[in-house]
């Protein structure tokens, strides 16, 4: 559970509180689960902003904040690094560790096949790419859309393979266009 007390407007938790329903009931209105990478590489300060650079992580937080306002109660955010963590308040936990996408896909597997989109936003290659692809292809029935938000060529290739294996769409647009990318995927 995310320890931060901040609750983003439009997040699942805020939506839950506003409607006065349980978390599970609020989950019924969700359209997509966003799997957002919070591994160590997300701390790279390579997002150009006016007057300097911002880290991928900070930019992702900002973009997710806007997205949740745009689609209130419709996005469930799961942050992953070595562990996967649900973020009902819409706030990403601190950056740590590696990129265990396989574990994250297993974590969200209960929601597989119930009409939700899985969208992975990551900047790199996961710990066990082949196994992850196999799992996405053989075990999950959902299509997985991917957004590459880094600069690694191997990472971009992997995410393309992942989306292709599950019949999803791959986007490579950078973290500063995360909002636009996800909006596009949600409206497809």
């Amino acid at each position: 559970m995310n320890n931060q007390s901040l609750i983003r407007k439009g997040s699942l938790q805020e939506s839950q509180a506003r409607k006065g329903v349980t978390f599970a009931e609020a989950f019924l209105t969700v359209d997509a689960i966003l799997l957002v990478d919070v591994s160590g590489s997300m701390s790279a300060h390579d997002v150009v902003i006016e007057g300097g650079l911002r880290s991928r992580y900070d930019e992702a937080q900002l973009q997710l904040e806007r997205l949740q306002r745009k689609f209130p109660g419709r996005l469930a955010i799961v942050a992953f690094s070595d562990n996967a963590e649900f973020c009902p308040a819409g706030v990403l936990p601190r950056i740590q560790g590696g990129t265990d996408l396989l574990n994250a896909l297993r974590y969200v597997s209960p929601a597989d096949g119930c009409g939700l989109k899985f969208i992975v936003a990551s900047d790199g290659e996961p710990n066990s790419p082949e196994e992850t692809l196999r799992y996405a292809n053989k075990t999950l029935t959902n299509r997985i859309d991917t957004i590459h938000i880094g600069s690694s060529e191997r990472g971009r290739k992997f995410l393309e393979e992942l989306s292709a294996a599950s019949g999803g769409t791959a986007i490579d647009k950078g973290v500063d266009l995360l909002e636009e990318s996800i909006t596009k995927l949600l409206r497809d």
């Binding site: 559970m1 978390f23 599970a24 009931e25 019924l28 969700v30 119930c114």
Partner: protein, 360 residues
């Protein structure tokens, strides 16, 4: 050393306050405490009923005056801000309020208010515009009179969000001197799971969804139960959700995530029934030797004794066999007497209407 004590005095004051006896007794005594109002040093009205029928007038006020503060069940104090409401209430209850002459209180200034033991360093006004701030957790919401520590953190500095240490109290030897902690109450009283209206969770457990839906629909259908309309709508929505395999799966997934992310601590609500009790008492909690808010400065409060085991409990019943129930002093820790909720009300109810609840 543990010892048992027959609490035959328990809640006798409440028996004395039977509603039937109330009006005549109190009306005749109102002028008697009028002079005291002129002597108050601060913006708090204090009414003593120690020589009249105790409790009755207090309870009458308690049912409407939000900031009423019960002190040991015999005195009522309320802020000057509320005197108008008291005035109105008295008019409704007793007719000619001019006898009480509460208008005199208007001349008093809100300049003094005492401090709670846990909040010695605060200069905040207990009954003023600003809420009292706890020096430990910095939270607002000290309940004057009902408890001597901040209800949010209990003096620990860490906010307590569930009611794990809720308790009821008993009236003995002229004071609320016996405390029944939750553990003791739970051992004696059955605890049932309280249905909170979550039909999704309820129906999910059923093997035959349609059958369960029909059974519940009979209970809540507005044609059969005029009060069940809202519940029926919830039931209908839950049924529609679970009938759709896709939505059902999504709900189940949400439930799994809920278990991983949301901590749901059970909330224990103390029993509301009043009784004559035999109990085992182990601990004695020594209370402050000074009266809490110091209007008179030196009233000695009795110590508080903690019940470890309830040995027997005989319900107090009226002629019709109904059980005396009450919102117990200190029992609903989260309920402020200054909130809209009634701080202390005596009623008589059929056994079947009294609940012991654990919300899960």
């Amino acid at each position: 050393m543990p010892y048992s004590r027959d609490l035959t005095d328990s809640l006798l004051f409440a028996l004395n306050s039977c509603i039937e006896n109330m009006p005549t007794t109190v009306i005749s005594d109102i002028p008697a405490f009028y002079p005291r109002l002129e002597k108050l040093p601060g913006g708090v009205v204090e009414i003593s009923l120690s020589h009249a029928t105790p409790g009755t007038f207090v309870f009458k006020l308690a049912s409407t005056v939000q900031s009423l503060d019960l002190i040991d069940g015999w005195h009522a104090r309320f802020s000057i801000r509320d005197y108008v409401r008291v005035h109105e209430l008295c008019r409704e209850t007793f007719g000619n309020v001019e006898e009480i002459a509460l208008d005199d209180v208007r001349q008093l200034k809100v300049d003094y208010i005492g401090q709670c033991r846990a909040h010695k360093n605060t200069s905040r006004n207990l009954f003023g515009q600003r809420s009292l701030m706890c020096k430990f957790c910095r939270g607002k919401g000290l309940i004057p009179g009902t408890d001597r520590t901040c209800p949010k953190c209990r003096g620990s500095g860490v906010e307590i969000t569930n009611d794990v240490d809720s308790y009821a109290s008993a009236w003995v030897d002229g004071g609320w001197t016996i405390r029944f902690p939750e553990e003791a109450l739970k051992k004696f009283f059955p605890v049932v799971e309280h249905f909170d209206g979550d039909f999704l969770k309820l129906l999910l457990k059923e093997e035959n969804l349609s059958k369960a839906y029909k059974r519940l629909a009979k209970e809540y259908h507005p044609d059969l139960n005029p009060k069940g309309a809202a519940m029926f709508r919830k039931l209908r929505a839950a049924y529609e959700t679970l009938s759709d395999p896709m939505r059902r799966k999504r709900y189940e997934a949400g439930l799994k995530f809920q278990l991983q992310t949301v901590t749901e601590a059970p909330v224990f609500i103390v029993p509301k029934r009043c009784g004559l009790v035999t109990a085992r008492i182990d601990t004695v909690e020594v209370a402050s030797s000074r009266q809490q808010y110091g209007l008179r400065g030196s009233l000695v409060r009795p110590s508080t004794q903690i019940v470890t085991e309830i040995i027997s409990w005989i319900d107090i019943r009226d002629a019709q066999g109904r059980v005396m129930t009450s919102t117990w002093k200190g029992g609903d820790r989260g309920v402020s007497p200054r909130s809209a909720a009634q701080p202390f009300v005596i009623t008589w109810e059929d056994d079947s209407d009294i609940e012991f609840e654990v919300n899960i």
